[in-house]
Amino acid sequence: MIPSLARTEYVTDWELARRAADGERPAQEQLFRRLKTAVHATLYRVLGSNRHMEDLLQECFIEVFRSLASYRGEAKLTTWADRIAVRVAFHYLKRQSSHEPREAEAEPPSLRLVGSPEDDAWHREGVARVYAALGKLKPEYRIAFALFALDGRSIEEVATITGVSLVAAKSRISRGRHKLWAIARKDDVLLTYLVERVEGEPG
């Protein structure tokens, strides 16, 4: 009996990508289902609650399917898709900064948190201010900082996903962080929120 390729998650990723690229609709649908949570999470962490989220997800997935031919199975499919999501987010932020400088891109997050109503309100306010402050950062700094500080990725992962060297990733995270704290020093609510959740200010 010839073993199936679908023995492990990793091999399944590669096989699924191949079948989807070959135009098998069930494989394409499965690939969409497999990636949708990861792609959405990456976009959300970088951009926050955003009224363009559906359009951005659509853009991401069209790019994913368009680029499947380049997937070599050397990374997990989700990591590979994260790179695409980050690229889409980057272009979106670039467009936002050049075309619609005064448009408020972020919507107040409507998520429910575990805790008292006061805690929930405080979280929502804090998160909204974090993303408003991130909106003042250069897209590359914002993306690197958000992936590292908000999404909990390692510096190596940030470098891989954003396609830069380790040194560049570290520098971008650091610059983003310094800029965020500079903004927070003029915003008491944001400052309090960050102090509560970050172990110490940058030096």
Binding site: M53, A69, P109, S165
Partner: protein, 338 residues
């Protein structure tokens, strides 16, 4: 550096919203597939009619020459074993070709007059004529292929987090993550050639990483003759061979393209240079030009990117990526107007 603790979870998208996204994505997919806008998955390399004919003859001959033993491996390999015959037919490109036999831990495969394909887990070995191979291990503990004589082509599915796939030929060890390569053995001498991906070759206390298109050892030798094998060539001459492959300089354009694609994230400048080295001719030139333009764009070199995108359209107006190139150019023009 610090990470924000207790960040609230991801705000979920409603089911309706996901349905909208999904239907729009697949509608777009249908349109693009109809127009042929998607590039094919790993375009197969060209295969000469002569090679195809030799392959067909060799495969037909292999039907009657396989001896597969599930018994334990004998204590010693035949000392006067004849050297390898060249592989007549390389295995097809990914995915691994269907094999007629599956090997397990302890399987021993000996071929006589023709090559045979054997499945090892989800990988496939193409064992040349006059070769002896033994298989150890399993998918969870890792596969170890012992080449006792002859030549074996390996088409290894990506290993991911699983233990590596290892081929041993005498004192030479080839460790692979996911790739296509060949190992040949004549007496105590071994040689390795990589068709896709990369492998680590260890021999005589040294190690070298080989990429697609490269061979080891560097100095190419004609296939060993029976006289060489009978004379028992020593391993010392093998150890003296330089471990840096000269053939790296003439790696195939496909190999260059694939390496450039892998390098994009880690070293975009080197990737750009590698795309340039693919050149303006050959089956990979269009892909390389597109890759270069796209990467320049990502690096923010818009003028250079535009020039290359326009060059692509002049050279390949009906190319696989022409629709994407037009869309990128349009977007850049929009950005410029704004």
């Amino acid at each position: 550096m610090n990470q924000v603790s207790r960040m609230p979870g991801i705000e979920p998208l409603s089911r309706m919203a996901w349905q909208r996204v999904e239907s729009r994505v697949f509608a777009s997919l249908d349109r693009r597939e109809r127009s042929g806008a998607f590039p094919a998955f790993r375009p197969p390399p060209r295969r000469s009619p002569r090679r195809a004919l030799i392959g067909a003859l060799a495969m037909a001959a292999s039907a009657s020459v396989l001896w597969l033993s599930l018994a334990s491996w004998p204590s010693a390999v035949e000392p006067g074993a004849s050297p390898s015959a060249p592989v007549a037919a390389a295995p097809e490109p990914s995915p691994p070709p269907a094999a007629s036999l599956a090997a397990h831990d302890g399987s021993r495969v000996a071929t006589t007059t023709g090559p045979v394909e054997v499945a090892v887990g989800d990988s496939v070995l193409t064992i040349s004529a006059q070769s002896v191979v033994q298989v150890h291990g399993d998918d969870s503990s890792g596969w170890q292929i012992q080449l006792h004589r002859g030549e074996v082509g390996c088409h290894v599915a990506p290993r991911g987090q699983r233990p590596p796939f290892v081929v041993r030929a005498g004192e030479t060890t080839v460790t692979v993550v996911g790739t296509r390569f060949k190992v040949a053995r004549a007496g105590e001498r071994a040689s390795v050639s990589v068709e896709e991906g990369s492998v680590r070759v260890e021999s005589g206390g040294s190690a070298v990483l080989l990429h697609a298109g490269e061979t080891w050892p560097a100095a190419e030798r004609p296939a060993a003759s029976p006289v060489d094998a009978a004379a028992g060539s020593s391993l010392e001459s093998e150890r003296a061979a330089p471990l840096v492959s000269r053939s790296a300089q003439r790696a195939s354009s496909q190999g260059l393209f694939e390496r450039a694609a892998r390098l994009e994230a880690r070293d975009p400048k080197a990737a750009l240079e590698m795309y340039r080295r693919v050149g303006a001719r050959g089956p990979w030139a269009a892909n390389a030009l597109y890759g270069r333009a796209r990467l320049e764009l990502e690096l923010g070199n818009t003028t250079r990117a535009r020039r290359e995108l326009e060059l692509y359209l002049r050279r390949y107006p009906e190319g696989a990526n022409a629709a994407d190139v037009r869309a990128l150019l349009e977007r850049e023009r929009d950005n410029e107007r704004r």
